[in-house]
């Protein structure tokens, strides 16, 4: 499987200060490969270098040293851009244009003409769910969510192989976020590659097949999500309901943690060594009812926090 | 480094482009310059209006108008047109000096431009003097403007009375040089006002500077010589009235006792009588030569 993005020791210094600018290292020797197909999440706290990385890939910034390839061509190559889609962070577009006009304009820049151009624009707007009467209004009048949709549409108008999204969920309400998530999964299912940056881990957890975690310009962890969060379950969570509260108190010392969720419902955390089955059987015999059993695995958040901690120490 | 090399190449290309453009412009102006529009309609003629229009950019505006003044003067000087020569000089100078009332050379050179007689100038001594007086109004201690007023009167209007008055006023100003007063005096003499000149020169006899005293002495002697010449001329006429013919030399006058001896000037040099013109003049060998002009004052 080929890589759509190849980053080799990419470094970016920003001059800070006017008279004797001292460089601030925004990105420090990043090396990364992103395979084709699937969704890759570039994660990290604010200021970690995520946007910097994406801008370097899109030739909006030029590297201080290092090298990157996108779709097999060096960064900045026009041919690669033909097969690429990009949604910048906090996008703004030409206020005076309508969504339709904007999409038609951009489609024209890809080389599409005539009816084909208009059809593609319409398809892209359909895909992001922008209503037809809204499409004719100037973008000036759009809500944030609508602008984000337009942004996504213009990234898709050319049926790209690789879609790069910089904080695509920012500013969206939960419904909007779910819709974007669904679109991303659709794109993945169509065999495209999606690269997005975010500081919201829950989205990443739901979407990504692989992630890279940046902190202070350095890559502190990367790999397939399943690999990163792999490891045996280090415990079990058993949720049961019981009418007899004293029952919970009796088993409490044997478990790692007991939590009362609400009236009659308790959550018990068992250690990794213990098996939940006998525990459940015992409580069931005493009259309790099982609600759920789930293994406690490493979450992405755990990985994240741990990686950051290591990064800081380094 | 490739980037630096690129930058140099582009910089060189841009420089070449600009140079080429400048070359085209230069060639254009050499080969087919634009005919200068001779019609002159100045939209802004009033200094006061200009002052308001230019807000606080008066000084720069006055500089621009000064440049235009010089250009106008230069252009008309070399032009062959016969009507309306230098017609914009006064409005331009008025604008220049209203926008900047302390624009020294505009007053001084401007006055000279205005006073120059055609074809070298418009011959408007009155405008020149008005300009200088305007300068004086804003700069009351500038003796140079009064001196220039005197100058204009002396050379262009030949009004020696006023010229002398201007020099005298100039002499009273702080910082005025001492030579202004003898100049005033001699100007009075030039105008035939010997009494006034005598008065001034007598005052100057007690001046501090040696050269001023010497000049005053000499001036007084010249006035004496002028008076003597008048008297001698009168005697020559009496001889003519009495005998019906003019004398041929001083001898003739001495022989009829009209003169007691050879007439001499205050430097003891003999006066000269010309038998053909019948006129008495000072000798060219005298140190008082030349006498101030107009030594033919009140006799017929």
């Amino acid at each position: 499987m080929s890589s759509v993005v190849r980053i080799d020791r990419l470094t970016k210094d920003f001059p800070v200060g006017f008279w004797r600018p001292r460089p601030h290292r925004g990105l420090d020797g990043l090396s990364l490969e992103i395979p084709a197909g699937g969704v890759f999440g570039l994660l990290g706290p604010n200021g970690a270098g995520k946007s910097t990385t994406l801008k370097l890939l899109m030739d909006l910034l030029r590297p201080t040293s290092g090298h990157a390839e996108i779709l097999g061509r060096p960064v900045g190559d026009a041919h690669a851009r033909q097969r690429l889609g990009f949604l910048p962070e906090h996008p703004t577009f030409y206020d005076h244009l309508s969504a339709e006009e904007l999409l038609v304009y951009f489609a024209g820049l890809f080389g599409y003409t005539g009816a084909d151009r208009r059809a593609r624009a319409a398809r892209a707007l359909d895909r992001v769910g922008l209503r037809s009467d809204d499409r004719q209004r100037p973008i000036r009048q759009y809500s944030k969510g609508m602008v984000q949709r337009v942004g996504l549409a213009q990234a898709l108008v050319n049926d790209p192989e690789l879609i790069v999204l910089d904080e695509p969920m920012s500013g969206l309400d939960p419904i909007g976020r779910r819709e974007v998530r669904e679109i991303i999964l659709e794109l993945r299912d169509e065999g495209r590659t999606v690269l997005f940056s975010s500081h919201i881990l829950s989205d990443a957890e739901l979407l990504c097949s692989a992630v890279g975690i940046l902190n202070r310009g350095r890559l502190v962890a990367s790999g397939r999500l399943s690999d990163l969060t792999a490891g045996e379950a280090h415990g079990w969570e058993v949720v049961m309901t019981m009418t007899d509260a004293s029952l919970a108190d009796r088993v409490s010392p044997r478990v790692m943690r007991t939590r009362r969720i609400d009236e009659g419902r308790y959550s018990f955390e068992l250690g990794a060594a213990a098996r939940p089955e006998p525990f459940i059987a015992e409580l069931s015999a005493a009259g309790a009812t099982l609600v759920s059993v789930s293994p406690i695995r490493t979450t992405l958040e755990d990985v994240f926090v741990k990686a950051l901690g290591q990064g800081d120490a380094a | 480094m490739k980037r630096a090399g690129q930058a140099v190449a582009v910089l060189a290309a841009v420089a070449v482009g600009i140079a080429a453009a400048a070359g085209v412009l230069h060639a254009r102006d050499e080969r087919h310059p634009l005919p200068v529009s001779e019609d002159r309609l100045m939209y802004l003629r009033s200094g006061r209006t200009a002052d308001r229009v230019f807000l606080s950019f008066d000084a720069i505006a006055s500089d621009v108008y000064w440049i235009r003044t010089i250009q106008h003067y230069g252009r008309d000087l070399g032009s062959t047109r016969t009507t309306g020569r230098f017609e914009l000089l006064n409005p331009l100078l008025d604008l220049t000096t209203t926008l900047d009332p302390h624009f020294n050379i505009a007053y001084r050179f401007g006055a000279i431009f205005l006073a120059e007689r055609p074809p070298k100038g418009p011959g408007r001594a009155d405008q020149a003097i008005a300009l200088l007086e305007k300068g004086l109004a804003s700069n009351p201690t500038r003796w140079q403007y009064l001196h220039d007023i005197g100058f204009v009167h002396y050379w262009f209007t030949n009004d020696y009375e006023r010229a002398a008055a201007a020099f005298e006023r100039a002499a009273t100003m702080p910082g005025a040089p001492e030579w202004l007063r003898p100049v005033a005096a001699m100007t009075r003499a030039q105008g035939g006002d010997r009494a006034g000149a005598r008065r001034l020169l007598t005052e100057l006899l007690s001046a501090d500077q040696d050269y001023v005293r010497h000049t005053a002495e000499r001036g007084l002697q010249q006035l004496q010589a002028l008076d003597a010449i008048d008297q001698l001329q009168a005697i020559v006429e009496r001889y003519h009235d009495a005998t019906g013919s003019y004398p041929r030399a001083w001898r003739d006058l001495i022989s009829v006792r009209l003169l007691r001896g050879l007439p001499i000037d205050p430097t003891k040099t003999a006066f000269v009588y010309d038998a053909t013109t019948h006129r008495v003049t000072i000798s060219e060998t005298s140190s008082l030569f030349p006498l101030p002009r107009f030594l033919q004052p009140r006799t017929r």
Binding site: L61, H96, L97 | H26, H32
Partner: protein, 272 residues
Amino acid sequence: MSLRRIALVARHVFKESVRDRVLYAIGAFALVLVAASILIAQISAGQDVKIIKDLGLATIELAGIVMSVFVGIGLVAREIDRRSIFALLSKPLPRWEFVVGKYAGLVLTIFVNVVAMTAALYLMLGYLHWSASPAVRLSWDAPAMDVRLLIAVALIFAELALLTAVALLFSTFSSSALLSLVFTLGLFVAGTFSEDLRHFGDIMDVSPIVGHLVGAIGWIVPAFSAFDVKAQVVHALPIGTAFVADTLVYAVVYIAAVLLAAVFLFSRREFR
């Protein structure tokens, strides 16, 4: 290189200007001023044709200058400021095509405005011609609806094209719109006085070095005053075709140099 892409950018710029209400304000102001000159002409005792032509041409030039400078500067700076440029540059549009397209769009806008104002001027001159008696018409230096006015307008347009290029140049590399404005206006003033600068050493009493330095500046700055044939046209003085051709060549060469610099600077530009 794709002319089509450049044309797309240009058309987009034109559309933006058309929908930008500021431009209408400038245009309206210009038209009002041109109309007002008819009033002025009534009180100027026979000089009306000349005054209307003078004022009309001057207004076209002034309105054009305001447009060139303010919109030219905003053109790129605004895009960069508002980040709308990020999405645009991710498309297969080379940076140089972006710059050239922007320039072409603005020049097109100015062209349309100049044409509109010139048409209005001719309308007014037409009215003047129609309302004047044959005797009065004979007294005019040049006919009211003189075709040669178009020469003056054409050169004004060339001047505006040059000024636009300068504004665009500053807009592509300066991060502050105010700074771009200052530089562009400064260069415009210098260019207007370029002829005086060239003769500076002759007129003013300065050392030869200073004279040569200032003179050199007079040759280097874009000579905006070199496009002024208003007085000649109004007084029906001859203007050779060679003169006009040379002036246009000057404009084209200089504009090319400026655009080259703008393209170069913009190619190097990074966007934080």
